[in-house]
Point group: C2
Chain length 418, copies 2
Amino acid sequence: MSEPQPGSETRSQSIPGSVGDVRRTNLALALTSIARAAPSGPITRAQLATATGLTKASISSLVLDLLTGGVVREVALEPRAERGRPGVGLEMNPGRAVVGMEINVDYIAAELVSLTRERLLCVKRFRDNRGSSAADVMADLAELVNTLLAEAADRGIAVIGGGLAVPGLIDQATSTVLTAPNLGWSGETLDARGLLPEARLGVTLLNEANAAALAEVRSRTGTAGPDFVFVSGEVGVGAGFVIAGSLFVGPAGHAGEIGHLVLEPEGLPCSCGGIGCLETIAGQDAILRAAGLADDPLETDMSRLLSALSSGESMAVAAVQRAATFLGMALVSTARLMGVSTVVLGGHFAVLAHWLVPPLFESMQRHAPGLIRADRVLLSSAGEGGAAFGCAGSVVQSLLDAPQFLIRPGPADVAEHP
Amino acid sequence: MSEPQPGSETRSQSIPGSVGDVRRTNLALALTSIARAAPSGPITRAQLATATGLTKASISSLVLDLLTGGVVREVALEPRAERGRPGVGLEMNPGRAVVGMEINVDYIAAELVSLTRERLLCVKRFRDNRGSSAADVMADLAELVNTLLAEAADRGIAVIGGGLAVPGLIDQATSTVLTAPNLGWSGETLDARGLLPEARLGVTLLNEANAAALAEVRSRTGTAGPDFVFVSGEVGVGAGFVIAGSLFVGPAGHAGEIGHLVLEPEGLPCSCGGIGCLETIAGQDAILRAAGLADDPLETDMSRLLSALSSGESMAVAAVQRAATFLGMALVSTARLMGVSTVVLGGHFAVLAHWLVPPLFESMQRHAPGLIRADRVLLSSAGEGGAAFGCAGSVVQSLLDAPQFLIRPGPADVAEHP
DNA sequence: TGAGTTAGTTTATGACCTGAACTATATAGC
DNA sequence: GCTATATAGTTCAGGTCATAAACTAACTCA
C-alpha cells in the first residue's frame, strides 16, 4: 500500500542486486550533489558530472528524472562572462517542502522546511501535555499543522513528507510511542500519517533527542563535525548519537538513554525503576528540586532558576554545579563508549551553559583528561525548536537518499488521492 | 599498490554506481549463501537461486567466477533418491584458509581457520609481553605463525588473509597500535602484512575486545543473537559492541572503552589519568589487589584467586562481589546507551562467573530492573583464544562481503610476489 | 522405453553506464 | 559580421549485467 518509509530499512539481507539499483544509487548521488551545492547557488549538469564522477550523458538522463519528478527545477543562470555555451542551473524545487513536528512536555510545534533545509515557517503552541491523552494532543497538533499547510498551499508549496518528534521510546515500524514517562504515555500508536495525508513520503516518528541531534548536523556549518554526542536536557535527559553524519539508534532504535546512566550507586530512585541515574541529578526536575524551586508552575521554573543563578543564590548554584559534575562523568563515559570527542549541549543544558559549562568541563578533565577538548564542548544552535527542525531534516535526508520514491510511479501506487 | 583492504572502507561519498557494482553485490550474496549453507552441507546452483532470489542463469555465471577464483569448489552430492537431474554441490574451498592471531599481555597465539570458520589448528605460546618491544613480540609471533603456515602448506591449504588482535587502541589504516597500556606500547606500527606475505587479502589489525566479540557472533549457534555487548575482562577491561551482527567501532574505531566508564567520583586513579574508572574496580589487577593477591607472579594469579574463592576466603569473595556490583552498573549503563539487552562475559569475567554472576545480576536488577533478563547474561564460549578466532572470522567475513578481491585480477595487481 | 521431474545452460531482451561524436550557444579576435 | 574557440548538453554505439524463456542434461518411476 504505502511506499517503503524512509528510515525503516529492513533489508532482509537476501535482496539481489539488479541493474536498476545502480540507477537508484546514482539518482541519490545526483540529487545529493544538487542539494549540497545549494549554499553556493544552482549547479549545472556539467558541474554535476565532474562533482559526481558520472558522465555527462548519465547526468542528463538522471536530471531528467529528477525534473519530471518535481524534485529539482531548472533556473536561468546569470551570465558569467565566460566563453562557451552557458549551462542551465539546477536547484532543489522550492515548490516542495517538508514539515517537522514536535510534541514535548509543555508545548507542541511545527515547522515548514524547504528541501534545502531552510525554515520557512514555524508555529508553536504552549500546552501542558503531562497526562493529556495522546489523542487530545494529536488533535491539537493536527490543528496547528493545518494552519501551516494552509499557508504552504497559499504559497504554492506542496508538502511531500514530515517527521514527528516525541520525548520517549519510539517504534518507528508501527508509529508507536512505547513509553514517554514525562508525557505519561505508554504504548500509544499515533496516526502520524494522518497529520499530513497528502504527503507522499508519509510521516516518520522520531525520538526527541535524536531529532534534536540531527538538527545539529547541518544547522551549524561544520562546527560539530560528523561525529558527536548530543545531550538533550528536558524534563528527561536523552542523547542522540551522530556518527559519520547519521544517527546511531541501535538495534531497536532505542540507543541514547544517557539519562539512565548509573552514576550514584546509593542515589535517588529514578522513574525508570533504577537508582542513581543521571536524570535524578541533572534532569530539569532534579535540578529545580535541588535548587529549592520545585513547587513552581511548570512554565516559569527555568526562568526562576536563571534569575536565582543570576542573583547568586547558593542553592541554585550548587544544584547546577552538582548536575554539571555528574553530567561530565556521564559524558566522558559516553564519549569513551562511542569513541567520539565532541559533545553538544541542548535543552536546559544549553540554557544554563554560563553556570554549567565550567564545572562540567572541570569534571570531564578530572575523569578523562584530554579526552574532550574545551573547544569540543558546544552549545545547541537550533534552540528549542531543534527537534522539529531535525525531524524535517531527516525527511529531507531520506529524500536525498532515495529520490526514486518521488519519481517512479512505483508498484501499486495508483489512485493516490481518491 | 595493494588491493583495497577489507574493513578500511573509506568511500568518499561520491563514488558513482556502475553496472559492475551489481556484479559485486551479487557475487557477495551468492558466496554468503554458500557459506551460510555450510552446516547443512553443500548447496546446489538451483537451491542457491531460490535462496538468493537470483535467476538460475545469473547464479551459474556468478558461481563460475567463484569457482575460477578458487573460493568455492564443486563436490559430488550423494544421491538423494529424488526424481530429476541431481544437482552439483558447491562448498567453500577447503584448500583456502585464514589465520587469526593475537598478542596479549601474557601470551601470543595463532589459529588456522577454514573459510567455514572451523578451527583447523591452534598454536599458543606463553610469553610475558609487558614491556617487551613490539619488534621482539612480532618476531616471536612470526615464528609461531610460520609453524602454522608450514603445516598448512603440508595439507595443501593456501592462506588468503589474516587478522591480528592486540589489547589496545588500533589505527587500522596505518596498522598502528596507538596505545596499549598493558603492553606498554604506544604508536607502534606493526608489520602485520609481513606475517603472511603470501596472503592476498593482507592482515587486518583489530582491538582484542572487538575481536573476541566477533568470535561470539558465530561460535555459539544463535544464543547471543545479532545484538550484544561483549565485555572482555583481561588486565584491562574492554568491550566489543555487536549490532546487527557487525561490530560497531565508532568514528575512529575506538568505541567500546567500557573499562573507563566513570563509576566512582572519588575512586582510585586509573592508568588513563582519570578517577574511579571501572578498570580500577573490576580489572584483573584491581580484583587481585582487593583480594590481597597482588604480589604473585602473573600466570598464577587467576588460579590462586579461584582457589581462594573456592575455599571461601572473604577478601577474595568481597573483591569479586564488589567488581560484579560495579560491572553491573557499567553494563546496564552501556546497554541503555547502545540499546541492547544481551551481554556476554569474556576473559576473567567468564572464568569467575560462578562467583561473579549472582551479584552482577543483582546489581543490574537494582539499577535497571527488567532491562537485561537473567537468560541474556551469557558467558563467552570461545574461551581464551577467542580474539584470534574472532580475527579470523572477520577476515572470512570480509571475503564474503567482497569476494571480487580474490576473483578479479584487479587494477594494478601485476607482480604480486616479486 | 518413455513420461515426468529437476538441474543447469543458452539466447534474446532490456536497463544502465560509458565514451566518443555531435549539436548548441556563448565569447574573443579580426 | 565572421570565424575560431570553448563550454554545455544530447545522441548513439558498445559493453556489462540481470531476466525470462527456451533448451539441453540427467535422473526416477512405471
